[in-house]
């Protein structure tokens, strides 16, 4: 739950400006981006996702570093990804 997972913004949601689709380790899910309205997010940007909300905008190199760190965590990361797979934010 405390893990921040990096996701790449792959699509905006025209009907819901608060939502966007991210790709997290191959999993595509809608998340809420309303906490980053000041960042003017674009497709291709990387964000750190906590419990369905993008909390900070990060660089691609930071995202890769965090992903590598998470993969090294083993079960804790797998559980988080599983939880994310089960998520269906609309």
């Amino acid at each position: 739950m405390c893990l921040g997972i990096p996701g790449e913004l792959v699509a905006a949601d025209a009907d819901h400006p608060d939502l966007a689709v991210v790709d997290v380790g191959g999993v595509r899910r809608r998340i809420n981006v309303a906490l980053l309205t000041e960042e003017d997010l674009q497709v291709g940007d990387w964000v750190l996702v906590h419990v369905g909300f993008a909390l900070s905008k990060i660089s691609e190199s930071e995202a890769q570093a965090v992903l590598d760190y998470l993969e090294g965590l083993g079960p804790a990361y797998d559980d988080e990804l599983d939880a994310l797979r089960g998520s269906d934010i609309t």
Binding site: C2, L35, T37, S87
Partner: protein, 375 residues
């Protein structure tokens, strides 16, 4: 991986370790607390203590939100979950946290409808899909997750979802640090500050630690080199007689935090006069409840709660572990009666708890050998 080498590089680790050793004054000992469970995880996973000179000791802090939920609150949540029309939702980490009468998993086995969710927004969706049921979200976490709960309540209010409520257990990191600074059995020289909490609150709120207590704090990232660099920065301040707040994790943490997130918390939540932390007891102004304006989404006001305080099991020494007074393996039941499969204390439940981190990475056996050979 090209990017990662930047944070992992063995050569840099060695030169940082040498720099750390060079900054230690002969004969002086340094104790730094890493507040966040994520750092504890990194330290044990990568054996970072082996890179540190004997003068430097790292102790764990209370920064695992699952670890500090008191038994009585788990019982209250299970009481809510046991109402026939209720669907209780929470994060997976919450499922095995022991209360006075078992955990969520036990309650689920006994027939309660308890569901794991990834996000509070998933809980809200369950509420919309089940208009005949009352859906409660058991909210836990520090300032990292509080904005998500707040935003979800705002959304529920905007959409008029009346069968959704929050059982709010959000806790705050600053009062916990202050309680540890004021506790007589702890002598600390500085803090490794939490990374993702700081992405929300920024670095300003730590200023009192430097100003009033004369201790430095460095907000740190979660890579091994981040932690080593933070120790190096802390020692640098101490060597020069400075005590300041510094930000080693500027690539994620803006100095001013996330204003939108803070506004959402400020709108939906209010400070509780006091709140019980497992192992640490009651701490004033250390937790958030829902504001009066959002009372209709507040499970505490909707349901009649037992609210009984339950003392921690006698064998459990989580309090000492959370204050950094005891190393996990020094607890009498560590690894025997208390394991991740059958946790007695909460520090063994979440992978970010100090006991679970020790247990999973087998550090305790090495520590024991070290202690044994020392005495």
């Amino acid at each position: 991986m090209r990017f990662v080498d930047e944070y992992r590089d063995g050569g840099r680790a060695r030169s940082l370790a040498a720099g750390i050793a060079a900054r230690c004054e002969p004969g002086r000992r340094y104790t730094f607390m890493e507040v966040c469970g994520g750092h504890t995880h990194t330290i044990y996973k990568h054996g970072l203590e082996d890179h540190l000179p004997p003068e430097v000791t790292l102790v764990h802090g209370p920064g695992c939100p699952v670890c500090v939920i008191p038994m009585g609150r788990v019982d209250d949540a299970i009481h809510i979950a046991s109402q026939p029309d209720v669907i209780m939702t929470s994060f997976g980490d919450m499922m095995r946290v022991p209360g006075g009468q078992g955990s969520f998993l036990d309650a689920k086995a006994a027939g309660a409808d308890i569901r794991m969710v990834y996000s509070p927004l998933d809980a809200l969706k369950i509420a919309k899909a089940n208009p005949g049921r009352r859906v409660v979200f058991m909210a836990i976490g520090f300032e990292t997750t509080a904005p998500s709960t707040a935003m979800t309540v705002l959304r529920a209010a905007a959409e008029g979802v009346r069968n959704f409520s929050v059982f709010c257990n959000h806790v705050l990191v600053i009062p916990a640090i202050k309680a540890i600074l004021d506790s007589p059995d702890q002598r600390l020289d500085g803090f490794i500050g939490p990374g993702h909490v700081s992405a929300v609150i920024g670095c300003e709120p730590y200023a009192f630690i430097a100003r009033d207590y004369g201790k430095p704090l460095v907000v740190a990232g979660f890579e091994p080199l981040d932690v080593l660099q933070s120790v190096h920065m802390l020692l640098g301040q101490l060597a020069e007689g400075r005590a300041e707040v510094a930000n080693q994790y500027a690539r994620v943490v803006p100095w001013g935090g996330n204003r939108t997130a803070m506004t959402a918390i400020g709108t939906v939540m209010r400070m509780r006069p006091h709140f019980e932390w497992r192992g640490l007891g009651f701490i004033s102004h250390s937790a958030l409840g829902l504001a009066d304006a959002y009372a209709e989404f507040d499970a505490e006001r909707i349901f009649d709660l037992p609210g009984v305080r339950v003392a921690d099991p006698k064998a459990c020494q989580c309090g000492e572990v959370l204050k950094g007074v005891l190393k996990p393996w020094e607890c009498k039941v560590f690894g025997t009666a208390c394991t991740p499969e059958t946790p007695i204390g909460t520090c063994m439940v979440s992978s970010e708890g100090a006991c679970a981190a020790y247990y999973n990475f087998g550090r305790f056996s090495r520590e024991r050998v070290k202690e044994a050979t020392r005495s």
